[in-house]
């Protein structure tokens, strides 16, 4: 046998084995890439589904129930489109009432989202927040951008009893960056403590509906505001209220009209003003709880102080159930 005859087969065999190994490495890499692509698609779809759930919950205006989620596009319950929802493009779903007790009110939403090349379905349970309002000290019915602040506003979002219940400075129907910019521009006149949370974008408070409920509940009148120690009451003042003395109040004060503070009002609970709010120079409005306003203007030439008091707000909620935001109670992936 010649030397060429021995080396050539060996070399060919080695090349064949090397080629097989190379092919195996290439195939392994291909499989891993396919797996990675599928995982990426699944993750994209899951993120899209999460976004659907987040938008669904965030889009529910604060209310006393979750009918907005159940009523469908026409906003009427008991019609054919009940349960139809489409919180964002690429996202479809349906809502219904989950099994179990009627209270607390809950909604079950099944949402399917397309994201990238993937599709995911999730089931979410939505309920009303246990905390009334939107978690802000001042909940405005209009943008604060055109408010007039010549006096001082002091906001303290720290909750003494529960640090997890610290409140946001304000909430209103305005873009977050506009709220931030307004607070920054008013930094000398609007002072916040360190535990006050950043402002929130929120729909306007349902002041008209709340007023109707207050009126139906048989409230007390302006006499509930007293110079001495107040009793927590449901109070409604129609036609506006001018405070020229030093008064105290507690519970829920609903002013149907303009609240004009020319003296001093110290209130523990919730103050709701459907019209303008004007704090005159040298006057003061102090609230332990929250302040909600309607579409009126905000003019603060004196002092306005609002500090978080979860107990006071809960007491007001006990006098008359208050609207709440929708929150996510739980979620699971269905596939």
């Amino acid at each position: 046998m010649s030397r060429g005859a021995a080396v050539l087969p060996a070399a060919l065999a080695a090349i064949a084995v090397s080629a097989a190994l190379t092919a195996a490495v290439v195939e392994m890499t291909r499989v891993e890439l396919v797996l990675a692509r599928h995982r990426h698609a699944a993750t994209d779809a899951l993120l899209a589904a999460d976004a659907c759930v987040a938008e669904l919950v965030a889009d529910v205006a604060p209310a006393w129930d979750l009918d907005a989620l159940l009523a469908g596009p026409d906003g009427q319950r008991g019609t054919g489109d009940d349960g139809d929802i489409a919180p964002r493009p690429g996202c479809t779903g349906r809502t219904d009432v989950p099994p179990g007790p009627a209270a607390p009110a809950r909604v079950r939403a099944r949402l399917t989202a397309l994201g990238g090349r993937g599709k995911r379905t999730v089931e979410a349970i939505v309920r009303l927040s246990p905390v009334p309002g939107v978690g802000a000290l001042v909940w405005l019915g209009r943008s604060p951008v055109d408010a007039s602040i010549a006096g001082a506003i002091a906001l303290d979002g720290a909750d003494v009893a529960d640090p997890s219940a610290d409140a946001a400075s304000l909430a209103g129907p305005e873009w977050p960056e506009q709220l931030d910019a307004w607070l920054a521009a008013e930094a000398g006149r609007v002072v916040m403590t360190s535990r006050t949370r950043p402002p929130l974008t929120a729909a306007a408070p349902p002041v008209i509906a709340l007023g109707t409920r207050v009126q139906a509940a048989g409230p007390a009148g302006a006499e509930a505001l007293v110079p001495g120690t107040p009793v927590a009451l449901l109070t409604r003042v129609a036609g506006g209220l001018v405070v020229s003395a030093s008064l105290h109040g507690a519970g829920l004060l609903f002013v149907d009209g303009t609240l004009d503070i020319a003296g001093a009002l110290d209130f523990t609970g919730l103050v709701v003003v459907s019209g303008d709010l004007h704090v005159r120079p040298g006057a003061s409005l102090s609230i332990a709880g929250a302040l909600w306003t309607g579409a009126g203007t905000l003019v603060v030439d004196g002092g306005l102080a609002v500090r978080q008091d979860g107990a006071a707000l809960a007491a007001a909620d006990g006098l008359l159930p208050l609207p709440r935001t929708a929150v996510l109670l739980g979620q699971r992936d269905l596939g």
């Binding site: 060996a10 190994l21 007790p101 699971r332």
Partner: protein, 186 residues
Amino acid sequence: MTRGSSLVELLVATMLGLAVLSVLTLVVGMGGRLLAACGARGEAEDTAALAVEAFTFDARRAGFDPCAASVEALADARPTRLAFLADLDASGAIDAASEETIAYVCASGQLSRVVGRQSLPLADRTTTCGFRYLDRTGAEIAVPATGLDAGGRRAVRAVAIDLGLRSGLLHAASARSIVVALRGRS
């Protein structure tokens, strides 16, 4: 002109041939080892990814409570063991022997997913395996060896798993760390 080969020529040719074969054998051997290493690494990466996916799936539905029956998200929260609860059949109660109770256990170099009373190994040869618990500010909660008490578990807003796997033939371990927020804990 000479005919045939001399002894020296044959020896030189044999040496050259052997050298070439040795190099080829070495190359093939290296290729084989590389293939095995890549295979082992790929398997380790897949195992780690699947374990993290399973953990994420279970963590996302922890505390699922359609009946508002006050179902807690965590039944156990220790550095090497945690248990998720979810009312999947909307019965208002948790069945400890079903998928409604899922535990993850790091022990003896292994990560296991325990469904009810059935244990399923998710990953072997772990170099790192543990769980962390984060509060609403994102700060890590110090966990005693006996685990968080009920109040501590309720304060947990997110859970994290740290998983490292030896791939065997490559030096670096396949490592994954992921933080998953618990839904409904805003």
